[in-house]
Symmetry: C2
Subunit: 342 residues, 2 copies
DNA sequence: GGATCCTCCCAAACCGCTTTGAATTACAAC
DNA sequence: GTTGTAATTCAAAGCGGTTTGGGAGGATCC
């Protein structure tokens, strides 16, 4: 069922039918009504490939999700994508998604762009030595970064939360509670967000004249066992931490598991603050959340990213847009004053 | 840079250039070489919309991910998609993904199909009263179900794990260990997989002449707090369970958290078996996994689903294919003999 | 009455690729 | 020298829409 058949059924030209369906003004109300009704009756739906070819727009946004070396799929991506997907369906766009190993990420962006499979792309998980912005520039594809690429803060469009500030505040909170040995369980620090969180952590310490202890700082893919193993090592170590600052709820669950297993009570014997991306399957809410946390919804970030990309960047690709999301610092049950006999 | 320009630069017809690039035999080796080199030199990439229009194939598979009433994004979907995505890039297909509220799932499939945005689709999360197969049939779109739609086992293509058998075996294991009060924390039982798991659980009990206790059976979206709250309620109840059978690692973590908090030891005081989808951010591996589990990798399921859909179903949509994945029953640290003074 | 302006509709070009059907050339066979 | 065959190459016709540039008919204005 194509336009031609529909127009023949109506004894109208394809032009008129097309215009009627797409809301152009140079069609009488009566004709439009007739067209719309007939289209519905015989179940006409425009072929999207043909439309894309004719208009030159793909009406799709590309996402490339990297799978890390260790085959880890970060659930944060999924939640971001859920937010973006909601916005896409509202705005009439499609999402074309590629899930590829780290090493093929650039190639995937190149493909989406040069084959015109997407009008624009979202850059996920920027690294401190990222080069994707250059590739996308030469390809002429508008894009928005979820996070920031160092050195590209002004020139590029991005949406990001204030990682450094959030972790500085979290660290301050622990320091205010009297903690001095604070462990940082971070994500991989070649990722920009993790590097920023570390800087925030370090800044809070140095602001009070404290030094950082490399034995208490780790980075890895943020799995549950990563949290558990790190906590076990550190708590069994010579000079154990009294508090943990963790980059992900998932790893924080591992930390909590180990603390309980050792017969310690979280929030009393050991404090934990985690970053909470507000993942839907790990709600940490209510009046008195399980974990004290810095919270920023990635799902909302995804939604805003899609909106910004479609509404601001596509119509005007040369004006960079920036959006800051402040993380909330929310007090829960997992923090309390330090009781260590310093 | 399009075909026409490329062919002019080579003083060849578009036909020949197209054939040379697409590997057709009726082009001399020398000409092909010349074409390929020039294409690379001037950076020609075929416009995929045009190609799709001309060939009539979208070279894309559609996925529609439902977001449940409670706004929950099931991470299982993401992992499935990671597996499928790997296969798609290998096979030259794209994935077009829609994330929509439960109520709009049908419409999303309809759109993908009637607008020819995808050559085939994957049906996620079948329910016991699902109707998507009918819609897709009338639209004439090949599809593969991840799971099964009751009554459609023979006629449709699907890939599924043996949910009933896995949960029956898990229950048997607990019964063998002497447990008699076993709680089932299931997913929502209007989902086919959850209904099957429940049947497996009940079958194991009735096989030994035991009856089920409604107070020990719950169903919900499988979040961490769901596990925690259910465990807390039940353990504080009049006649607490000595073992838990949980449909998801995420909820199992919640169960484990509560058990530890109550000063009980998991595996000794209370046993837990969980289904383990082998989510990459929740590894439960090693010689002696944290959780005793029934394990079946959804990522592998995603990969196989994509392969089956592209290699078997697309060329021959009328021959249904079925693939069974058996779950392994893996003994970990979370199960042990029942010590309850019955 | 004629020029001007809308309103509404249409034929045809175009988007960039694939594919059909045919033409050209070269060479061997008869 | 004609014919048959294989190897190359090409012009043109789609694929199914959108968009350009008119054109017909009626109303408005001098």
């Amino acid at each position: 069922m194509n336009l031609k058949q529909l127009s023949e059924a109506l004894s109208l030209s394809q032009t008129t039918v097309s215009r009627a369906l797409n809301g152009y003004p140079e069609v009488s109300a009566e004709t439009r009504k007739r067209v719309v009704e007939m289209a519905r009756k015989i179940g006409y739906a425009p072929n999207s490939q043909a439309r894309k070819l004719a208009t030159g727009r793909a009406m799709a946004i590309g996402h490339v999700i990297p799978v890390s070396q260790h085959e880890m799929m970060n659930p944060v991506f999924m939640e971001f994508i859920a937010g973006a997907g909601e916005a896409y369906s509202r705005l009439g766009y499609d999402m074309v998604l590629k899930v590829v190993p780290d090493a093929q990420v650039e190639g995937a962006y190149r493909e989406l762009a040069s084959l015109k499979k997407a009008d624009a792309v979202i850059v996920h998980g920027p690294r401190i030595h990222d080069t994707r912005h250059e590739i996308l520039d030469t390809l002429g594809v508008p894009f928005l970064i979820h996070g920031r690429i160092p050195g590209q803060e002004e020139a590029r469009s991005w949406i990001d939360m204030n990682n450094a500030h959030a972790f500085e505040r979290a660290t301050d909170l622990l320091l205010d509670l009297g903690h001095r040995r604070i462990a940082l369980l971070n994500g991989l620090e070649d990722m920009d967000f993790a590097a920023r969180r570390r800087r925030g952590f370090e800044k809070a310490l140095t602001n009070r004249g404290l030094s950082t202890d490399p034995a208490l700082m780790r980075q890895a893919d943020m799995t549950e066992p990563y949290g558990a193993e790190s906590a076990l090592d550190m708590l069994d170590g010579a000079n154990p931490p009294t508090a943990f600052l963790v980059s992900s709820m998932i790893s924080a669950l591992g930390v909590a598991r180990v603390i309980s297993q050792k017969g310690l009570q979280i929030g009393r014997d050991v404090s934990v603050i985690t970053h909470d991306d507000a993942l839907s399957f790990l709600p940490n809410g209510g009046d008195d959340p399980i974990f004290t946390c810095t919270r920023s919804s990635v799902r909302y970030a995804g939604q805003r990213a899609a909106e910004l990309l479609i509404e601001q960047i596509l119509p005007n690709p040369d004006v960079p847009v920036h959006e800051y999301l402040e993380a909330e610092l929310i007090i829960g049950q997992s923090t309390g004053p330090c009781h260590a006999t310093a």
